[in-house]
Amino acid sequence: MTTTVTEPGLRRVERLERIWVEPRGLLGWLTTTDHKRIGLLYFFTTLAFFGAGGIEALLMRTQLSQPEEKVLSPETYNQLMTMHGVTMIFLFVIPMAIGAFGNYLVPLMIGARDMAFPRLNALSFWLFLASGLFMYASVFMHAAPNAGWFDYVPLALKQYSPGRNIDFYALGLIFNGISSTAAALNFIVTIFKLRAPGMSINRMPLFCFAMLAVSLSLIFALPSLTIDLVYLELQRNLGFHFFDVTQGGDPLLWQHLFWLFGHPEVYIIILPAFGIATSIIPTFSKRKMIAFPLVALAELLVAFIGFGVWAHHMFATGLPTITLVFFAAASMMVVIPSTIQVFAWTVTVALGRPEFRAPLMFIGGFIVFFVLGGLSGIMFAAIPFDQATTDTYFVVAHFHFIIFGAAVFPILGGMFYWFPKVTGRLYHEGAAKLSFWLTFVGTALTFFPMHIVGLLGMTRRVYTYPSSLGWDAYNLSETIGAFILTAGLLLIFANLAYSRFRGAPAGPDPFFGGTLEWATTSPPPSFNFPVIPTVRSAYPNWDVEDRRADAARLERGELVLDEGHETPASTVVDAVPDEIVEMPGESPWPLAVAVCTGLLFVMLLTRHYAVAGVFAGLALLAVAVWNAKEPQEQ
């Protein structure tokens, strides 16, 4: 709409640009508090970790391509296996979906000018980067975590893992958890408080519902992981007793606390995918989502029930049956929110006039893999079958269909879908479609045969296997699939990289999307919207007259807020405008805090506790200095 502005409007836009401008160059990136720039920082960082995790996967697949293969030593394999899990979950999927997509899109979708706490947002990123580097330092010291991503005790205790490997894991994940908590907190407050006037909770985009559900899950799930890791460190390094039977502890305590976090984690991974799917499907089906309230509920419900299913990861530990049934029952019913969404998606496509462009094709692939992975997931709620197949490749197949097929496909589709918004250019459609088929076939070929070898008795986390058991052909095809998949992924990134510079200009709204991010220019200006949009439906960008009204407001100067670095805040449920909040500008202190925290964790790792205390103090001091810069109220 900025296309049709006249003199007064133009002057207001210029004033906004002056107010919201950030320093150029490296300094600008180091001190930025712009949610879009932070989103991009997240995007490229997580992409790097995705590459690392992918290489680890390919190495493992090569080792497993045939029986008695000797490419990797057992120790190396176990480190790669653990780092692959840790990387893909904590350093790729979550930060990519929440940090990159969420950061860039949520404020745009709710018509805000930034996140609620811009400096905290920057801090989350720098902490995330530091924690990632912290954990990857271990790889280069050949002391990477090697007890599997769920790191069961007593294997992870000093007695059986004397090295630093497990300390890297425990401290690294505590560190990473701080970043995730800060990010989640920020998203919740942003979604609660910064929605555009009129965007009452029942008109909030489904993507934001997904992000809200994810953030709430993180807020309530991470503490149990953190405390579990604290117990582990206390027992490893200070001689506490939580997990050893002889002193009244219990190794199952670790498993309970880990999975009390670990299962909500699974939904934390998949929920952003739901959000992306519910953004792409209406756009390309050219109609609103069917059963909108149910889909919104389903996204929150799956996160909620996800907290009551953790012990289904422990069905084989010999717990009493009366204990297990609680979790079996919840594990059965946690399926319903997913069935609701699957039918809502498919029916919406069937009811619409779908245009199968690359993003929608990736969502199609997502639905296929999500349904396959979900159906095999149901089977694990049947306790006897779970006890037979748990810790086999059947589980590996199941959760890779979910975590790769279902969680990552929408991320790839979303990269294409929002590429024009972020870069202002269109991606190459043909290459995108080809890359879809490559990744689709690759994924199916890599992970489908794992179901079969699992049923044939192949247990997970083995670095090699004998040839007498009829697993060879399947493993070979899995390895081939992995390389096809890699080719597909490389084609995607090549396409995006090329289009970034050579793509055709996209304009503000190439796909005629329904949510507010399409109501502004591509790429969006640093202040997101010249006028804070007013909302009267769940797909505000399809209410053309409302958007015209915005343009008119720009002329009159209503809701432009070109007096200061400001965004409006409204009531939590019904989004009644309440307050104009002065937003802090760029700040170097988040980076400083992250550096101090990083050094704090290095000192904990090397057991210099006194020095660690000093860095903790410095971190607090940096927070104080950051906080001392208050909004100007004179």
Binding site: A147, D244, P251, G318, T346, L351, V371, Q387, G457, L469
Partner: protein, 335 residues
């Protein structure tokens, strides 16, 4: 999404393979040799059929969405109201009913078959103790001790009492029953009740460190009389070596560090950290099924265990070929 439908087809075909092509691999969860595993595989096949139908419905909807992409009403007429009805009907009520039935069947009924057996219902018990990375087997009420090869009488309810000497392991013999973890401070029980004589391969299913991959075991379901003979022999102390070479082997075994870790009942060798070798020659494999128990392989193993099982607790020894042959001759005589 044509491919989706083809995938469904492949699902059916390929999943039929395990029961046909690889029925005999000895570690196939869908090749049951016990009542318990039968129950589990029935559960699986029923769930597979149900899931295939469910997948079919959704794949068809997607397919219709693509085929009829230029019509914005459902094939059987109706628009948003009908759509919402489908979501609530197929997305809520139908699955709630199906899943509740599945819960009652699997988690209340089938579970009774596969859960730990009532101690009174079993005829004998066998103790399995997980070690990094091998299985210690003991027979309560007898002096028999062996490793990695469990003999049980066929068509007899045997109570497996699982514990661990170090980290968590998981006992899993796919053709006989579901798996159970071996956890410090717990005795977890599992029913072994083979319908037909045979060898059933099993493997540690919980990641237990560097050599998790080489921690397999075999269950031999013998006819009762054969089992009794085997057990009687296992209870005996080791046979005295018969040839001079074997006697030299025994002397070496007792003088070299071997006897510090391994027990050979009836000799001075009383180590407990490694497998009991009293009747090593009656076993078919070495090092938790890493190598076959042939003199040649035994010689290789003694010389350089780290080559076959890196990280194994057993160190290699610099032996002259005559010393090695003597040791092999002695151990190979421990019938």
């Amino acid at each position: 999404m044509r491919r989706a439908r083809r995938l469904l087809l492949v699902t059916g075909v390929v999943l039929a393979c395990p029961v046909t092509a690889w029925a005999g691999n000895g570690q196939n969860a869908l090749h049951p040799a016990s009542k318990q595993e039968h129950a589990i595989s029935v559960l699986w096949w029923v769930m597979l059929v149900g899931c295939s139908i469910g997948f079919g419905v959704i794949a068809t909807l997607l397919l219709l969405g693509w085929v009829r992409r230029n019509r914005d009403y459902l094939p059987f007429g109706g628009r948003d109201r009908a759509g919402t009805a489908i979501v609530i009907g197929l997305g809520v009520f139908v699955p709630i009913v199906i899943l509740s039935i599945l819960f009652v069947w699997s988690d209340l009924y089938v579970l009774k078959t596969t859960e730990a057996p009532a101690a009174s219902s079993t005829r004998m018990s066998v103790r399995v103790i997980g070690h990094d990375w091998w299985w210690e087997i003991r027979y309560p009420g007898s002096r028999a001790v062996t490793a990695n090869e469990i003999h049980i009488p066929v068509r007899t309810r045997v109570d497996m009492l699982g514990t661990t000497a170090d980290v968590i392991h998981s006992f899993w013999v796919p053709e006989l029953n579901r798996k159970v973890d071996l956890i410090p401070g717990r005795v977890n029980r599992l029913l072994l009740d083979a319908e037909r004589p045979g060898e059933y391969r099993g493997q540690c299913a919980e990641f237990c460190g560097q050599q998790h991959a080489h921690m397999a075991m075999t269950v031999f379901a013998d006819p009762p009389d054969a089992f009794q003979r085997w057990l009687a022999n296992e209870q005996q102390p080791a046979r005295k070596p018969s040839t001079p070479q074997a006697r030299e082997g025994e002397r070496l075994f007792l003088s070299l560090p071997c006897s510090g870790c391994h027990m050979i009942r009836g000799t001075g060798a009383d180590g407990t950290s490694g497998p009991d070798l009293t009747h090593l020659a009656t076993r078919e494999t070495l090092a938790a099924l890493t190598l076959p128990n042939k003199p040649a392989d035994l010689a290789h193993w003694i010389e350089d265990p780290q080559r076959y099982k890196p990280g194994s607790k057993m160190p290699g020894f610099a032996l002259t070929s005559s010393q090695r042959d003597a040791l092999v001759a002695y151990l190979d005589g421990l019938k």
